[in-house]
């Protein structure tokens, strides 16, 4: 196989964690016979050198300032020059704002496919096979590529990064290509923070249609506030008007990944799971022992939440 091109990104803290993970994934593929690893970054040769330390055999700095806009139009000629220079037949991108746009654009421009948000990569019969989640996590799909060029974006935290090794050596070169963007970036902003945001809360307590009664959310809010967390709701509960849509967790709502997610009377349909499956620890309180949410939990109580939640609030107060 002809080699791997990793499209890396940097943030304020240096090489982005996802890009370090991509280099870890690329090394695994290289060990399986996928060829040498070339890394690409829009930035300086010093940054490119860092990519060698994280596992690349060689690195290319795309130095044209136009790439700072992050638009696909600006990036495409530089990435295509890097593909030509490296001879790679595999391109790895992160499932990031950049990768979500650049992956498909690169694919369609080169009449090949891109597999998005992949969690596993394998070399089989001299070709890349990628595994990704589908149907809100209910299914896994293993895909391959019809055309020679194989492009994937990789989900964060799916691969381990290698520790940086400044002693690793590899050639560093520069590319000046850039495209003229038809999309003009006027500015960027960070989200305003007021109170504990659902997406950033260390603890989230959510309720679903199984609550049977909108007033039950007062109980959940009390528990959430005791744990310095935020309160969420399933789409079904929001659609019934029981809780504000801004607090909806799920496919069409917010995506959360708190340290502790307490799901109260939520069955765990893929609509909801898509928004909270990244939670580090899940606790389910549900009457149905067979509910999907119970299965994916660390701890579960199979009982009526109306009795459990007030008792839990009292017990947690005692521990404080």
């Amino acid at each position: 196989m002809a080699g791997i091109l990793v499209i890396a990104e940097a943030n304020e803290g240096g090489i982005a964690p996802i890009s370090q993970e991509l280099l870890g994934a690329a090394r695994q593929l290289a060990d399986a016979g996928a060829g040498p690893v070339t890394a690409f970054i829009a930035g300086t040769e010093a940054q490119a050198k860092e990519l060698v330390a994280y596992g690349a055999d060689s690195a290319i700095a795309a130095t044209n300032g136009a790439l700072a806009s992050g638009t696909t139009d600006a990036y495409l000629p530089a990435v295509e020059a890097a593909i030509a220079q490296s001879g790679a037949d595999i391109v790895l991108l992160g499932q990031t704002s950049l990768g979500r746009d650049l992956g498909p654009a690169l694919a369609f421009k080169n009449k090949t496919a891109v597999a998005m948000d992949c969690v596993e990569l394998h070399v089989e019969g001299g070709r890349l096979h990628a595994v990704r989640s589908a149907y809100g996590g209910n299914a896994r799909a293993k895909v391959s590529f019809r055309a020679p060029l194989q492009i994937v974006t990789v989900k964060a935290k799916s691969f381990d990064a290698l520790p940086a090794d400044a002693g690793r050596s590899g050639a560093v070169s520069a590319i000046d290509a850039a495209g003229e963007s038809r999309v003009k970036v006027l500015g960027t902003s960070k989200p305003e923070s007021t109170g504990i945001k659902l997406e950033e809360a260390p603890v989230v307590v959510s309720g679903g249609r199984g609550l049977g009664d909108p007033s039950a959310f007062a109980m959940l809010e009390q528990l959430a506030s005791l744990l310095k967390g935020a309160t969420g709701a399933s789409r079904a509960a929001c659609d019934l008007g029981w809780y504000p849509p801004s607090q909806q967790v799920g496919l069409t709502g917010k995506t959360v990944s708190p340290g502790l997610y307490i799901a109260v009377a939520i069955s765990g349909a893929s609509q909801h799971m898509a928004g909270m499956a990244g939670s580090k620890n899940i606790v389910a309180i549900n009457k149905d022992a067979d509910a999907n949410m119970v299965k994916v939990s660390k701890f579960a109580i199979v009982d009526d939440y109306k009795k459990i939640i007030p008792a839990l609030i009292e017990e947690i107060k005692k521990l404080a």
């Binding site: 948000d117 589908a134 960070k190 502790l260 999907n292």
Partner: protein
């Protein structure tokens, strides 16, 4: 302003996981019994965006396109009931099992057949495959710019100001029509069709086009010609490590859970 909205019908994401089944040999999802397919939850937001832009422009036409089985007509009807003007259903057994890339090719051909457009709007992704590649694909094929994950769009003649969602914040961009824009779920609540509109929608035209009507060749259709061949489709084994917290009374269960959470340093 003439706008084309692409919508898709998918299995209901509210389907309980226990009812979700896959035919591993056919590499297909087995439709859950008694649960009707629904409009992809992201798509009504694209229709909503189209309606607001048409209103702001003081006129124009909104054409809704859907590719899928005959039942996908319901997804078109939903958009028509929200206020879109016309529908196009692309349906053909030859399109069964095609991937997102073949879909983008077919939609691009359908859009060219519809004719003049200022804007093509789509939901951010379809919630079944969740690839999110079709908006960019259609833009590449048609040679027009794309802006993904829009949460607000302001049109000033042929110039659009778009607020879009990034991983760590927001971005404002400017783009000229014609363009493709995908709409993020941050865009805001889509309107609910009112009874009168549902009745009006029944009178609106839905054209039906086949693969041949779009000029799609035999090498562009069918699952055998996927750009991204499906090697396997399966239900991952959920490694359930759940510890059911027991107790004689609800109070005891709650106490045992609180102690477990404390021991695990989670509270």
């Amino acid at each position: 302003m003439n706008i084309i909205v692409c919508v898709k019908q998918i299995p209901d994401p509210e389907t309980p996981s226990a009812s979700f089944r896959v035919d591993e040999a056919a590499k297909k999802v087995i439709p859950a019994q008694g649960i009707a397919p629904v409009v992809n939850p992201y798509d009504p937001q694209a229709t909503e965006a189209a309606l607001r832009l048409k209103d702001a422009a003081g006129g124009g036409k909104i054409t809704v396109i859907s590719l899928g089985p005959e039942t996908a007509r319901d997804a078109i009807k939903h958009a028509l009931a929200m206020g879109a003007d016309e529908g196009v259903l692309i349906t053909d057994p030859a399109l069964d099992g095609i991937d997102n890339f073949q879909t983008a090719v077919a939609l691009a051909k359908a859009i060219e057949k519809v004719g003049e457009f200022d804007l093509i709007l789509m939901g951010r992704a379809s919630a079944d495959w969740d690839m999110g590649v079709v908006p960019t694909g259609v833009s590449q094929i048609l040679g027009v710019p794309v802006v993904t994950l829009a949460k607000a769009i302001e049109a000033n003649g042929a110039t659009l100001k778009v607020d879009r969602v990034l991983d760590d914040g927001f971005q404002q961009v400017e783009v000229n029509t014609p363009a493709v824009i995908s709409i993020s779920n941050e865009f805001g609540e889509p309107r609910y069709p009112q009874l009168r509109q549902i009745m009006l929608a029944a009178k609106k035209t839905v054209q039906v086009w086949s693969a041949a009507d779009l000029g799609l060749g035999a090498d562009e259709t069918g699952s055998a010609n996927r750009w991204l061949p499906l090697e396997a489709l399966y239900v991952p084994k959920v490694e359930s490590n759940v510890e059911i917290i027991e107790g004689d009374t609800p109070e005891e269960k709650a106490r045992n859970l609180a102690l477990k959470l404390r021991a695990a340093k989670l509270i």
